[in-house]
């Protein structure tokens, strides 16, 4: 390891702005995660425009803070009002809410925090340990290898497609087609520009992102007549003790490892990790009958599984340049906005920035602990902001955010149009996440495909030229097989009694 680079990384990292950015990111993330209806991708999307004028590391750390805070924040309302702020926190409801009903909300929140911070720390360690090795391996990649890698990465769409794989593919197709707008990358000819100069550079990432994740939720508020939220349970007086932590340590450790493994595989994300960790804790427990009735170990297992993915999803992003989930897809976009391209080349050229990001990520675990410990009471109150005030405020953030990237009102129009499309998708149960992933990965896929073909003089056999390509094709086939099988199984499980199918 080159000491000069580490020294440079320290110099980049030890700036007041970075410390403030991570702290602010964690606070914003916890608040966003704690508000039912607001999602972490939405939070990251709204914060992203504020990072344009920051140094790249500061901006990325702010977003990572939001990501990590959001993962934990979801558990607050899951425990207090049975309304998980994030999908992954729905597992925390199982035991967290019964604990709150028993007057042990503070204990559940404390354990959620301890498990989250520990798992987050473990996940960050794995990120630091494994990313460099993976990136070193990826230095052997050329366009054909990257093409096959991105094809494999696109199978993560299955993981974010929700109930219907077909709708996920439909959503991804829409994202891919919007990504083709602009000048052709090889010939420089027009594609879907129709004389509009503003479209020559393609659609900007931020307006599409905000339009897809924030605006549909705002528009959806106009369809809601009344929203009744359960009143929050009292926090209670007794928090989790060292004894409680020791009792749950095995579940936390197991959950962290599950989170790290599943988080490092593109497309799996926090929810399956939380549920797998929970089911393993229940399966190996001496008293499985207490799970679901307010078992503190259940809270610890769910939260450690969920937060164990936080650092691990960054492994494929930093090492290979492919996102592990929707939020890391957004962070990939943020890297690009700052003129950086995560992947093996960044390890060669900007290793100091990567080390600085590692330092910030480690600090975020500590901040998460402090913010969680000090501000649970206040944050649980912020979560009660009425939607009819919250969403108009979010709308203003959307408008300023979409405009600020290129100081162009046209981007506001793009945001509105994508928002309307996103609203239609929301109402038709078409998931938005595949759209965004395809929108980001689409140009990379096409670029590497065409570069590969140019290298091979038009011969497609170049995409099978070595064992790396073969491995990625094999993984793609394996992944497609499993996602189709799982979707069929899930569909069969859902069939109501009386159906003609078994």
């Amino acid at each position: 390891m080159d000491m000069d680079i580490i020294q440079q990384a320290f110099q980049i990292f030890f700036a007041v702005n970075n410390f403030i950015a991570i702290f602010a990111g964690v606070v914003i993330g916890v608040i966003v995660g704690a508000i039912p209806g607001m999602t972490t991708p939405m939070g990251v999307a709204l914060v992203l425009p504020f990072t344009f004028t920051m140094q790249p590391v500061t901006g990325i750390l702010l977003l990572l803070g939001v990501y990590k805070g959001g993962l934990y924040g979801g558990s607050i309302t899951a425990i207090l009002i049975k309304a998980p702020g994030t999908p992954a926190a729905s597992c925390t409801v199982l035991d967290g809410f019964p604990m709150a009903q028993k007057g042990e909300a503070q204990k559940a929140l404390d354990m959620a925090l301890y498990a989250s911070c520990f798992a987050d720390f473990m996940s960050n360690l794995s990120l630091i340990l494994f990313t460099g090795a993976l990136a070193g391996f990826a230095l052997r990649f050329g366009p054909p290898e990257f093409f096959t890698l991105i094809v494999f990465s696109l199978t993560i769409i299955a993981g974010v497609s929700g109930d219907s794989l077909a709708k996920g593919i439909l959503s991804a197709s829409l994202g891919l087609i919007l990504a083709t707008i602009g000048l052709d990358i090889v010939y420089g000819t027009n594609r879907f520009i129709f004389g509009e100069v503003e479209l020559m550079g393609g659609l900007s990432f931020i307006p599409v992102l905000i339009g897809l994740f924030a605006l549909p939720e705002i528009l959806n508020q106009f369809t809601i007549q009344m929203e009744k939220r359960a009143s929050a349970n009292a926090l209670g007086q007794v928090g989790a003790t060292w004894q409680d932590f020791k009792k749950c340590f095995k579940a936390i450790m197991r959950g962290s490892i599950i989170g790290v493994i599943l988080g490092a595989i593109p497309g799996i994300g926090g929810s399956p990790a939380a549920f797998l960790s929970y089911s393993e804790a229940k399966r190996t427990s001496d008293h499985p009958e207490t799970f679901g009735r307010g078992e503190i170990e259940g809270v610890a297992a769910a939260e450690s599984g969920n937060n164990g993915t936080a650092g691990a999803t960054m492994i494929p992003l930093l090492a290979l340049g492919v996102p592990g989930d929707v939020i890391t897809a957004v962070i990939l976009g943020a890297f690009m906005i700052h003129g950086l391209r995560p992947g093996p080349v960044m390890f060669e050229q900007n290793l100091n920035l990567i080390y600085a990001i590692f330092m910030g990520i480690m600090l975020s675990s500590a901040y998460l602990f402090i913010v969680g410990k000090v501000s649970i009471k206040a944050i649980s109150k912020i979560a009660n902001i009425p939607n009819n005030l919250l969403y108009p405020a979010v709308l203003v953030l959307c408008v300023y955010g979409a405009y600020a990237i290129h100081t162009n009102v046209f981007d506001v129009l793009v945001m509105f149009l994508v928002g309307i499309l996103g609203f239609a998708m929301l109402k038709l149960d078409i998931p938005a996440a595949p759209f965004l992933i395809a929108f980001i990965l689409g140009p990379l896929l096409e670029d590497n495909f065409r570069q590969g073909l140019l290298m091979g003089d038009g011969d497609v056999s170049i995409f099978f030229r070595n064992e790396i390509c073969a491995i990625f094709w094999g993984l793609t086939a394996f992944s497609v097989y499993f996602m189709v099988r799982n979707h069929i199984r899930a569909k069969r499980r859902k069939k109501p009694a009386g159906s003609v199918f078994p």
Binding site: P36, F50, T53, A83, S164, L165, A166, L170, A172, S173, L174, L176, I177, T180, D184, V186, Y187, T189, N190, R191, F192, F194, I218, L219, Q221, F222, T223, I224, Q225, M226, E227, K228, R229, A230, N387, N388, L389, P392, V396, L397, V399, Y400, Y403, A404, T407, V409, V412, F416, G419, L428, E446, F449, R450, L453, G458, K494, K495, P496, G498, F501
Partner: protein, 172 residues
């Protein structure tokens, strides 16, 4: 509308969009140089592949809708959370309110070069809060004034992003 019927519509629309893209939009919207030797390197190759993907997804959804409709599989009963309940307006009222919201967005877009983004946002927030049921004018107006102005100062003064002020440009 049942899930099956809705899926039939979604599938049919996706196929129609793919056909429209393949036969109308791509020929009109993508300029293909005459010197192309390898088909897969052509600028219209990738969009056409995506259209095939879109049509395939549409066909799958259509088939699922038709199969579910034919077998008369009832949609699973909707289970409402007892503690956290959302009640939507009747469908027609939803359409009217959402259309009004769309119109509001486009009017904002059209007017923002004239009245500026800050004042535009003030009007937008006031209308949005009132339509969404905020009864207190004080709350509506406070939010409508404070947030756009605070964001203006952040972007204009801290981030040095010139926010358009339209008629109020002299106040800058």
């Amino acid at each position: 509308m049942t899930t099956a019927k809705r899926n039939i519509w979604i599938g049919a629309i996706a196929i129609a969009l793919a056909a429209l893209g393949e036969f109308v939009v791509i020929p009109l919207g993508v300029t293909v140089p005459s010197s192309i030797k390898v088909l897969a390197l052509s600028p219209d190759f990738w969009p056409r592949v995506i259209m095939v993907l879109l049509a395939g997804a549409g066909a799958m959804i259509l088939f699922q809708g038709l199969a579910a409709g034919k077998l008369l599989i009832a949609p699973p009963p909707v289970k409402l959370e007892a503690d956290n309940e959302v009640v939507h307006y009747p469908f027609k009222k939803q359409i009217i309110r959402v259309t009004a919201a769309f119109a509001g967005l486009f009017i904002f877009y059209a007017l923002s070069p004239i009245i500026g983004m800050v004042v535009g946002c003030m009007v937008l927030v006031t209308l949005a809060t009132r339509i969404l049921g905020v009864t207190s004018w004080v709350k509506s107006l406070c939010l409508a004034v404070i947030l756009p102005v605070a964001l203006y100062f952040f972007f204009a003064k801290v981030a040095h992003v010139p926010i358009p002020l339209g008629l109020f440009e002299e106040l800058r």
